[in-house]
């Protein structure tokens, strides 16, 4: 099962290596890992998507908490969360195909961020499943490049989507 683990870490050199190294040394599999600053300049947030059974993920959580510069660890499994990926995707878009590609982008609430003679670059964000669905939908036109952030997440206050 996929678990989204959120770790608040000290914002200092070497922390990413310590966390990534722990994962490698203990043979835990990382699906994605995102690091970014927070509102506190001393802290960064790592959002790590891990695949494993409950016992493995429990170990991941504990071993992560043991890494000295890791301040707080949360496993969002079983909690209502907002989880989002961001993707930039470059799609082959010859002029005759553009209307249908644009309506596809519209359906996915994507945004065209660059247009060239042969390709258009689109920005899409959302839950991972939506990103995957958009990639699949674009495949028939030809995909040149994909760049994805990996998942970031935050627990919801409200228990249902607004």
């Amino acid at each position: 099962m996929k678990h989204i683990i959120s770790a608040l870490v000290e914002n200092k050199p070497g922390v990413l290596a310590q966390v990534a190294g722990m994962f490698a040394a203990r043979a835990f599999n990382i699906d994605s890992l995102v690091v970014g600053r927070t509102e506190d300049p001393k802290l960064s947030r790592m959002t790590i998507v891990v695949v494993g059974d409950d016992r493995v993920v429990e170990q991941v959580r504990k071993q992560l908490a043991k890494v000295v510069p890791v301040v707080k660890v949360q496993d969002f499994a079983g909690e209502p969360v907002v989880a989002r990926d961001l993707m930039l995707i470059s799609i082959s878009a010859p002029p005759e195909k553009r209307p249908e590609i644009l309506s596809l982008i519209e359906m996915f609430k994507g945004k065209v961020v660059d247009i060239g003679p042969k390709f258009i670059m689109v920005e899409v964000s959302g839950p991972e499943a939506k990103i995957e669905a958009f990639i699949n939908a674009c495949k028939p036109y030809g995909i040149k490049n994909v760049a994805r952030t990996g998942t970031i997440a935050m627990p919801r206050q409200a228990k249902t989507e607004p």
Binding site: V9, E10, P13, G14, A25, E58, Q59, Q63, K66, V68
Partner: protein
């Protein structure tokens, strides 16, 4: 014209000049403030500023022949004294040579602080002379490490290193010190506060969990206490004794737990695991409650996990939350300091005779004691150790190599005092015994320190004998010399059809080597000579090496082969035939 803003640099400059120190001075002052009076280390280019400050510092400095030796010495110093061991090395090769020692300390949870030199800050990443990515290399084998980038942070980082190394589940911490940091000056005072928002240690056990554990103990008909090195590092032996004796609990220990409980007590089951006693292994397999304290369910202890203690509810008392349910599912976890938790537990447990359980254990003890052939015409390693134990009244500090020598030492020396056995358990580092004896003797100058070693273990670090000679450390080295890597050979005999592939080397004459290095060297080839050779060795005031030419193909029994259950021991029939 704008007025110059009042900067913090100005206020720093205005402070008393006498409080301005170089990084090297800050390091030495902080070490002394942390109570350090002994350092093991080896100089080199980029630690010269630090070594210059150490030239007239009030610190006992032990120089090994190899940085690996220094690291093992610092580790054994820590194990023998309960203090933090300190090791210093230069950059590149010096730091890389610490790796085995750090990994050894890390696996066995030993508090060590390593200080390594590093090339000048602006050269880092340029493949400079003697540059290695030390924090990168040592990260997986330390509890924590960091590189100092600003001399103002130096005092704080060193204090944090000592705090992290010695609290919680102890372990090695490395601080990498670029040479310019050692030279730069700052007025930052040494009283800097720790900044460790991510480091918390839970010491007090959860009261409710302790009550649940006590209730389980009170209800249990067939309990076993399974004790690891954590009880020794928590200085909790007295609390352990009180618990075992009040509640009437049989006690088995891991290799690193030896010394935490007096083995002469009737409730002692001695060591469990791969080469543990049959009575300990049977008791664990048949117990209805296993109370693990400061132990981590290592594969050498549990054997096949699926069939380990199959009928037991498991209580696990440990300071490291990540140890709980890592290998074996735990029913009643209690996270915290073993000393505090055991003291609470003692109050809540009730006396319980458990007559049937103890009579069953007595039967196993009667039927399957550890044995060896006492009528042999060759020197039996077990005999050497029994004789050592007898003549030292079981009170010597024992260090070991790794392999058969280590297992025989664990089986045949009778331990009763915490910090008495100093052995590389988790990592199994051959070559540990001799430098460990040096470190232990430095920590305990008045103790009898004996390295029970194997010939091939001794080969790996024997150069450190000269360190003992130079520092007048009267360590005793007993080489159980069978001319083989004995445990490798034993496995090849049992599992590889006696194909002794590369498991022997030609050895030097150790007595001659010892004498060349300035120590006393003896050889013992006949069983009849063992007592007097040991007597002479123990009377010797100089470092002393005795080369015991032992039975070449002696095996360690019993043995739980890798992947077998604890009750599936090989060699019990061989032991029974020895009656």
């Amino acid at each position: 014209m704008m007025s110059k803003p009042h900067s913090s640099a100005d206020s720093a400059a205005s402070t008393d000049q006498s409080s301005i120190k170089t990084g090297a001075q800050i390091i030495v002052d902080t070490l002394i403030e942390q109570g350090v009076d002994t350092i093991f280390g080896y100089p080199g280019g980029v630690v010269l500023p630090l070594f210059d400050r150490l030239y007239d510092a009030p610190i006992n400095f032990i120089i090994p022949r190899h940085e690996q030796g220094a690291c093992h010495m610092a580790d054994a110093y820590a194990r023998a004294s309960g203090k933090v061991g300190v090791v210093v090395a230069t950059s590149g090769p010096g730091a890389c040579n610490l790796v085995t020692g750090l990994a050894t300390a890390n696996m066995d949870s030993v508090p060590v602080v390593a200080l390594t030199g590093q090339v000048r800050t602006e050269l880092i990443g340029n493949d400079a002379f003697q540059e290695a990515d030390t924090t990168g290399v040592t990260r997986p084998v330390t509890k924590y490490n960091c590189i100092v980038k600003d001399v103002k942070e130096l005092a704080r980082l060193i204090k944090e290193a000592f705090y992290i190394a010695s609290t919680g589940r102890p372990g090695p911490v490395l601080i990498d010190l670029p040479v310019d940091i050692q030279v730069n000056k700052t007025s930052t005072d040494v009283s800097a506060k720790l900044e460790l928002p991510g480091y918390r240690v839970r010491t007090k056990g959860h009261a409710k969990q302790i009550s649940i554990a006590a209730e389980a103990i009170n209800k249990s008909k067939q309990p076993v206490l399974y004790v690891g090195g954590g009880v020794i590092s928590a200085n909790a032996s007295e609390e352990l004794r009180a618990l075992a004796q009040k509640a009437n609990l049989p006690v088995t220990t891991t290799l690193l737990g030896l010394g935490s409980y007096d083995q002469s007590r009737p409730e002692s089951l001695d060591m469990l695991g791969m080469h543990g006693t049959a009575y300990a292994n049977y008791a664990v397999q048949e117990c209805d409650l296993l109370i693990a304290v400061g132990a981590r369910f290592d594969d050498r202890v549990t054997g096949k996990l699926e069939t380990f203690a199959p009928n037991a509810k498991i209580i696990h008392i440990d300071i490291d939350p990540a140890s709980i349910s890592k290998n074996v599912h735990v029913d009643i976890p209690v996270v915290g300091d073993a000393k505090l938790i055991l003291a609470e537990l003692v109050k809540e447990v009730k006396p319980h005779p458990r007559k049937r359980w103890f009579s069953k254990i007595a039967e196993w003890k009667e039927k399957f004691p550890l044995r060896y052939d006492k009528d042999s015409s060759t020197v039996k390693p077990q005999y050497v150790i029994e004789e050592l134990c007898r003549q030292t009244k079981g009170r010597a500090i024992i260090t070991t190599g790794v392999g058969q020598n280590q297992m025989w030492a664990a089986q045949f020396y009778r331990f009763s005092i915490p910090r008495q056995l100093i052995s590389s358990g988790g990592l199994g580092t051959m070559g540990y015994g001799l430098p460990a004896a040096v470190g232990a003797q430095v920590a305990r100058p008045d103790a009898t320190v004996i390295d029970i070693d194997g010939d091939h273990s001794f080969n790996m670090t024997m150069t450190e004998l000269r360190t003992a000679v130079e520092h007048k450390l009267p360590i005793k080295v007993c080489i159980l010399n069978n001319g083989y890597m004995g445990m490798v050979r034993q496995w090849q005999e049992l599992f590889y059809n006696k194909r002794y592939s590369k498991s022997y080397l030609s050895n030097p004459d150790y007595a001659t080597v010892a004498r060349a290095l300035g120590a006393v060297g003896e050889t013992c080839e006949r069983p009849a000579d063992v007592p007097k050779v040991i007597k002479a060795m123990l009377a010797e005031k100089r470092p002393c090496v005795v080369d015991f030419r032992i039975e070449r193909e002696e095996n360690v029994w019993p043995m739980v082969a890798a992947g077998k259950s604890l009750n599936e021991m090989d060699g019990l029939d061989i032991l029974e035939r020895l009656i």
